[in-house]
Subunit: 359 residues, 2 copies
Amino acid sequence: MTPPAPPAVRSTAKSRRRATIADVARMANVAPMTVSRVLTGAAAVRPDKVKRIQDAIQLLHYKPNETARALRSQRSRIIGLIVPRLSDPFFATIAHAVNNVAVDNGYSILITTSNDEEETEYSQAQLMVLRGVEGILIIPGAGYHSKLNRLEFEHVPLVALDKPIDEPSIDSVFVENFQGSRLAVEHLIAHGHTRITCISDASDLYTLHKRQQGYEQAMIDHDLKINTITDCTAQRASERIRLLMQSKNPPTAIFTTNGPATRNLLHTLLELAVKLPDDLALIGFDDFEFADMLQTSLTVVRQPASEMGRIAALRLFEQLQQANQPHIGKIITLPVDLVIRRSCGCKPRLPSRQRSPRT
Amino acid sequence: MTPPAPPAVRSTAKSRRRATIADVARMANVAPMTVSRVLTGAAAVRPDKVKRIQDAIQLLHYKPNETARALRSQRSRIIGLIVPRLSDPFFATIAHAVNNVAVDNGYSILITTSNDEEETEYSQAQLMVLRGVEGILIIPGAGYHSKLNRLEFEHVPLVALDKPIDEPSIDSVFVENFQGSRLAVEHLIAHGHTRITCISDASDLYTLHKRQQGYEQAMIDHDLKINTITDCTAQRASERIRLLMQSKNPPTAIFTTNGPATRNLLHTLLELAVKLPDDLALIGFDDFEFADMLQTSLTVVRQPASEMGRIAALRLFEQLQQANQPHIGKIITLPVDLVIRRSCGCKPRLPSRQRSPRT
DNA sequence: CTGTTAGCGCCTTCAC
DNA sequence: GTGAAGGCGCTAACAG
């Protein structure tokens, strides 16, 4: 065992380049390949050599260069994650869960936000492939058809979350949008309400559509008249809701299909001094941190954001393990919880939950 | 111009490997190096060759392999981002802003969560370096001293956010914790309050300490008695706050030093049926999405999360450009807003803001 | 079990 | 302006 070999290059003042596998091999008096085998465990190596190699690694502070590994072995141990916005707690929670699974598997995450832009999503996904990601998890943006079903992504394992990508071979993970909404609306009906309005903002066409369908199914099943408002964006919500509440037959209950719609509605109701649940009952799709501390705590359909991220990531790793076997897209749909608080008219002692039934 | 040259390897059924720079060079009848120059713009190339090369690139759908580039050029165009939790809206918003800056600079982000664990933070940071990130942005976890001041990170550009890392050469971006808190407490004092309690949970020692100091400074300046409660964790908050409110001289106002403390307090106040702001005035550090829709809308100190992320990322890129010049750590402190709502006792028509003064 | 050879895809370097 | 050679650091493939 020789002392730390001076690097091949003359050791200038302080450049001192990182030790490479060759340095370790030289010091341990073996071939680089043998060092590699110890590192990766790809094949057995005689114990005494293992010892020498490990000592050399210690002394040189050797750490493998993952970029070189990725280039040579065609395995980057990196997956891509594309979300519309990280500032949305729902997406951020999914990202957090994905990260945990990735770390458990020894993978890292290359993340990016699409800002709900088709071109950004597409170009960032391409860039990820060029950077050698082994697979991509994506929450497609609202309001367009994702282009990730293109040919160039044919050989990249892909899992879609929350919304689908239009290509049957792609795995998807959704929540029970339809059943959850139906459950929520039926809860309102059980409270005796008959004039129930469904309010959406304009974003996120796929999920909102599913949720509206759930609302409509519940209404049809009980012979009630459907009334859906779909353009309650931040700008127009105030006007639309005032009109609604001041009409001659205003609803006695409202179902909002996502967080923004719920927030827009609540703002206007505050302005109008409408009291929940006396003047109006409300259930919103999607829970949020302070839902239990509003003027009237809100009954909501809670989505399993963390669970979604976890399952999607696990699916992706299953695909990575199955290498190139022909792949059939699997659709996983997670149940949602109806978290009953005060806004629907219940007077629960403790917040209770009800789970969406599986169809 | 020849038709798409069959790849060197025989084109088996459908393996069809990705085109490389050599394929493009062959097709355009130039040396690979010339193609590289067109790609990177590293040197001028005669227009007719440029044309031939661009045509070949189109025909072959050539895209450069970024892993190979990173290995050869020692520039990955990737930066690392470490946050404690992505499920925290404050951190997630920072991550979002960081992403936007990175994309603008043609960089990608390798992200990971430390879960507030010293070892995770350290090992993930190491892994990022092995993956060739050019720099790291980190929000250090709560409750320990980050190990990223170690020797091995000496040559990795580093920027700390929200909390410092104990090493003077590292850039940091903070908010005005001290001034913001002082401003908030002075606002309460201006409302005529004299018994003001400061409540913290146990996490995040650095920022909470700074905020407590701001509170104390304001109290001292006005000859008021300091009363700080530091262990209002989710488990103990209820007990501690009940004790406080039922003491014989309960405070007439409270200043909470972060989101969790605010939330814990609000929960208990709901249970105790304490009405804001009549029974008690409250200002919390850190804004959140539904702060304006609580039983009584909350007056808060708002932190510029997005701005923090943006500035930290910009700093990192400045370091990347300055290559190896000796670096002196720069500390950037951002002002915070006092967002006045109802909980402090104001009756604003429109929510108003006040900016923390710079010292 | 171990070493040799070669090359992943690109760009640095240097010669022309 | 252009090309040839060589190697970034590692491991696949093969030979022994």
